[in-house]
Symmetry: C2
Subunit: 344 residues, 2 copies
DNA sequence: TTTTTTTACGCAATCGTTCCCGTTAATTAG
DNA sequence: CTAATTAACGGGAACGATTGCGTAAAAAAA
């Protein structure tokens, strides 16, 4: 079934004008007399004329839409970030096309190629946890395609990046646990391929050592799919809990890691914070409704989306190739609640 | 900055052929000799040629993308539904463009006009809670634009609809509370403009009366923005709780209503289920992690998204106008947990 | 060998818009 | 009153791809 819309040609024929005149009248060109403009404008309004964005795109070589690749939209952080992205994009007349990688490298490559075949003007991407090889992104970037990373950036690719101070966030979270009296603090980490994972581990380790505690290798366990796969989290926590000196507190380094950690504790009847305290990176908006309420490291997701989009649009709309790239590092917020209650 | 891609013309010039020959060679037309095909295909591969989807759209009057309007993607039900939508759309070569109404009528109208101006081939919509006047959707539908409703449908517009058996869901939830010994069951309802709200109230009331309880007007309180605005939920619950015979159980009729209900109880130190039992419509994937774990009426969100998309694509790809519309009603699932523990 | 058929390609229109050039008629300048 | 200017509009190419039609050369049939 087809949806026929009215074109400039229809107006031209109806009014006995040429398409060029109609086009100019609609764009309020000085070459058209006020009288003609009035006639055209009124008729266009009457028959509800809308310019065909596809024809415009073809002519201007711009689609006025941007692509977004995230792992999951059913994830508080990303859905909030997308809200930020949309708020800026729509206000500037851009469409947003969202793709999910579901943390799969293969899907990410497919999504990227799909979007990049010239239906989008630029790309916002937070790479999949599985991704180790970034050549698909690199080659696009090399060909001058505007790309902005947010949250999960690729170190080796030089373009705008909007990230958070993961190092400090993990440091603060860990130090908070230490100051609350916990001594054996473990780190439930995400994918080892992601720079955010490395930064968070760095902050975690630094806090441990700065505060005179012993850094224990086995206290850091990775989950390749960033908590998406429960079994991975289960395995990681089993490994920690099997240690002779098992942890008395955990820093969980991602949204899904945090919730699956809670799920694990619940299934094993491990009490929080009595048996193990917990603080997690999370943007869950009901973290305060859990019992115990959840201490979190919260990312400014909405702002990240906004800033990333502003940078991307600036890059898209700049006349010449951009070579100076910004690296925005936003602060994290720690919200202390019951799950990390100080030891008596 | 501009991203120049290679066109069929580039190939034609480089190979000393005409664009038609190249086009036919790429589409494997019988009119082209195997030798020429080989040359073209290899060269195209070498310079990484991708057909320009915008040019194709202009020619075929189809953009191969569908629009989705939901109130919020940061809502478990909708993000799961979108996953279902994407899974079908991508597998059939369609793009998905998502817009959020944030439960605002005004935004919905803007989003609709934006999407409809021929950049999309069809629309999946779950109307905003605020929307009372549906003429913007109606007029689009009248002009033959393919539209499929999911979850929140508009009764007066005759097109495909994918909904759930809200009546039965509310009936079952309410009856479950009754069978668990609760007697004064209230209904925290969503927007009075939505048909799902009416159906859920119908089911609720039917369960009350079928089971020989007294139906009390004041036990049903509406929230115009479906729980998005905490103050509305607070006001509704305040009204219920101020009653002399205040409720001993609540059926919350939407995702955000349910979570904000929990937030209210927590802030007022009302214990669940001891003071008030609770069962809510919710697709929250951590409902089991709350304490008490939350009894829910769960919607098959993913499947709804899939079915709605299949119906939409069928409508888009059908040669002639569709006049027989389907009304798919999916079953709801009740998951009983601690928040509606039977009274002793 | 001549005629017919087939093969393999090119030309040009089309989709909806914009925009660079004309071109006519009216206006102004000289 | 003639020449130069300008106002107001139309013609047509372009964006990238597809496709109906025309046509040269080669192959097959007569």
């Amino acid at each position: 079934m087809k949806f026929e819309a009215v074109t400039i040609k229809d107006i031209a024929i109806a009014l006995g004008l040429s398409t060029s005149t109609v086009s100019r009248a609609l764009r309020d060109s000085y070459e058209i007399s006020p009288a003609t403009k009035k006639i055209v404008l009124e008729y266009a309004e009457q028959i509800n004329y809308r310019p065909n964005p596809i024809a415009l795109s073809l002519k201007e070589k711009r689609s006025h839409s941007i692509g977004v690749i995230v792992c999951e939209i059913a994830n508080s952080f990303f859905s909030q970030a997308i809200n930020g992205i949309e708020s800026i994009a729509y206000s500037k007349g851009y469409n947003v096309i969202i793709s999910q990688s579901h943390e799969s490298y293969e899907r990410e490559v497919i999504d990227l190629n799909y979007l990049a075949s010239r239906s989008i003007d630029g790309l916002l991407i937070s790479v999949s946890a599985e991704t180790e090889n970034f050549s698909h992104i690199q080659s696009l970037h090399d060909r001058g395609f505007p790309i902005v990373f947010f949250d999960r950036a690729v170190e080796s690719i030089d373009t705008h990046k909007v990230i958070v101070d993961n190092n400090k966030g993990a440091f603060d979270a860990t130090e908070h646990l230490i100051k609350s009296g916990y001594q054996r603090i473990a780190n439930l980490a995400g994918s080892p391929h992601l720079s955010i994972t490395k930064d968070r581990i760095k902050g975690y380790r630094n806090a441990i050592e700065t505060n005179g505690l012993h850094y224990e290798e086995a206290y850091t366990q990775y989950c390749l799919h960033g908590g998406m796969v429960y079994e991975e989290v289960e395995k990681a926590l089993d490994a920690m809990m099997a240690l002779s000196n098992k942890p008395d507190a955990i820093v969980a380094s991602a949204d899904k890691l945090t919730t699956n950690c809670i799920r694990y504790f619940k299934s094993k009847n491990i009490r929080v914070p009595e048996d193990v305290a917990l603080i997690g990176f999370s943007n869950l908006d009901i973290a305060d409704l859990l019992s115990p309420s959840l201490s979190v490291v919260r990312q400014p997701a909405f702002a990240m989306g906004q800033i990333a989009t502003e940078l991307l649009l600036k890059m898209i709309e700049s006349k010449r190739a951009v070579s100076e790239f910004e690296n925005r590092v936003l602060p994290l917020e720690i919200m202390v609640r019951e799950s990390s209650t100080p030891l008596k």
